[in-house]
Symmetry: C2
Amino acid sequence: MQSRWLLYPTTGALLMLAVVAPVPGAASDAARAATHGMTDQAHAGIERTMAAYNAALNGGDTAAVLPLYTETGVFMAPFSQSSIGRDAVRTAYDAVFAELKFNVKFNIAEIMQMAPNWAFVRTNSAGTTLHHSTGRTTSEANQELFILEKGHDGTWRIARYSFSPTNPPAT
Amino acid sequence: MQSRWLLYPTTGALLMLAVVAPVPGAASDAARAATHGMTDQAHAGIERTMAAYNAALNGGDTAAVLPLYTETGVFMAPFSQSSIGRDAVRTAYDAVFAELKFNVKFNIAEIMQMAPNWAFVRTNSAGTTLHHSTGRTTSEANQELFILEKGHDGTWRIARYSFSPTNPPAT
């Protein structure tokens, strides 16, 4: 394994080391398999954030999405300019939810903790999307790359998020 | 600034601290402005990798692209499944270059070093693309999120790379 997380002798790392017991039911086998050396506490916290994001997206609720982003978070949605910072992220999700109602599921392909306060998560999502303007429901399949940052409150939040469709373009 | 790079007392960090003199001409003002606390050595190394990727892409040269990826690197191109690992990355770029000839320029929006061996780079690219199958040249504009890992040889390589178009879909 070329990539691995080093436990740095910082306060944060020591705090994480203080909890090494597995968190029951916190991680799926699939996600666990693709997890690169990290504490169960970090793993569970990251999975909580990802599950909350999945729920907020399907709920079409910008107010539920926003706390999952850092203040300086960047949302990079296809076919639009990068949304930089929480105000721009709010505007972007408001626009998305005005048109689209999602019923999708994110599957975690891998989680890697790069530093005490930084991790990335790679996912695939699939499901259906109702387009309000046309009344049509389409199939969705996407690949996602999230960079998460752990805040001073111990919560992992989305710092940068880029995704794209895996299906061929509509013709 | 919520996010910052902490200098961990590891060998890697000490090595980087040993070179603190600015590298002349290594960083554009724009990239420097968006750089979050990191050494000039790391900054210059990351910019070298990004410039090499830009050149390899425009050169249409898979052999020049591959050494810029880690062995376990993942290339997440729109409208196709994630290419996981160097063999899959090779196949993906071969397919891209068989159809497309790029003349694009990457502009670095921000560089952040998250750990001694991990950084991310967010860019925007724009230019033109010649499609061999049709002979048509189209305009390109994309947003990119690179996660880079520094190898034991001190070279920064692409570990994960996701991008998407910023222009509306062709109709």
